[in-house]
Point group: C2
């Protein structure tokens, strides 16, 4: 990674995958999203076994490389190492940032945080960037995991690490996430489940450059 | 590992964990099992997140070390590396044996196999031992995953790697598994869900020395 300023830019439009589509469909959608301007792709599949994750990871690595985008793996440090990922993203119940660092050397480590306390801890533990959310309600997160725009702003004002907002972010609210100080926005549905993932990415990207 | 003969002995009574008990309960049961003569413990928890697996792994590493037993991690090579495991065990849909070898160097790699074809492939790919089953019906395996005593015997006659039989093995059938050429038996319920896990281990162990 050239610089923290470069990293902030590369985290601008951050796509997180889900379990809803087949591996083939997912790779097709990821390609469209990259064509539309996605800058980072995080492989996150909670129901896939290791072998399939490795296959998918190789596919996403190839695609992101050809578009100059970052490729990050959720939680599974082993899959990240085997598929030449740029790094991992860990939640509060995943492998810890410090443990991940032992296996990953100077690769990127992102940490999901919801409170200022968690954000401070993640910075102290050497996180390269923070994923902060849920900024808005989503179907997959309970109220307890919501930080809201105010919680996001409290974190971006305090930390010096790059911050990516996540949770319920779409065209109609992306501006408020950036105004709260986020360097980038992470989305799942807004791109993956859009009728036209390429176009959805282009539209989101307009706010981010 | 001193020798393949030593490895065969150390795989004799092989306990695989499950998701049914709390981490604290599980560690208590594992200790009892080790007191009763279990020679290998495999950490296999399909519903635990990475952080909890690391905690459990450290606990099992400590216990197995003090009893001179092997500690193996199912599928998660990252957890194995972080908790100083003796190796990993991978199924046909987990990280492949070859990929696991890239990350693990000369640590142990066990591979689940059900057919002679799978067993040959695992040996060719450098597996250190084979887990063969299901030998008997179990609640968690469909008929398709059954190899039976005959399937087990066909594999042990062909391969030179140590073989551990798995699936529905208990006091009343352990003898037939050894007669089919297995070096050891892997059990879940027969120890974990026994009224007295230590005693259950002692009783099984009598067949294995
Ligand atoms: Ni899982």
């Amino acid at each position: 990674m050239a610089s923290i300023r470069d990293l902030r830019k590369r985290l601008a439009l951050y796509l997180v995958t889900d379990d809803k589509s087949s591996p083939e469909q997912l790779l097709t959608t990821v390609r469209s999203a990259l064509e539309g301007g996605v800058t980072t792709v995080q492989l996150r599949r909670k129901h896939d076994d290791g072998r399939r994750l490795v296959e998918l990871g190789h596919g996403i690595r190839e695609l992101t490389k050809s578009f100059g985008a970052l490729y990050i793996v959720n939680d599974r440090v082993d899959i990240a190492l085997l598929t030449q990922a740029d790094g991992v993203h860990v939640g509060q119940s995943d492998i810890s940032c410090r443990d991940a660092r032992r296996l990953l050397g100077d690769k990127l480590i992102g940490v999901s945080t919801c409170t200022l306390e968690e954000a401070k801890t993640a910075e102290r533990d050497g996180a390269d960037y923070l994923g902060v959310g849920a900024v808005f309600p989503t179907r997959s997160k309970s109220d307890a995991d919501m930080c809201g725009i105010d919680g996001l702003a409290a974190i971006t004002q305090y930390v010096s690490s790059p911050v990516v907002g996540i949770g319920g972010i779409a065209l109609n609210n992306v501006k408020s996430v950036l105004e709260a100080g986020a360097d980038g926005v992470a989305v799942v549905s807004a791109i993956l489940h859009a009728e036209d993932p390429r176009r959805a990415s282009v539209e989101l990207k307009q706010f981010l450059t």
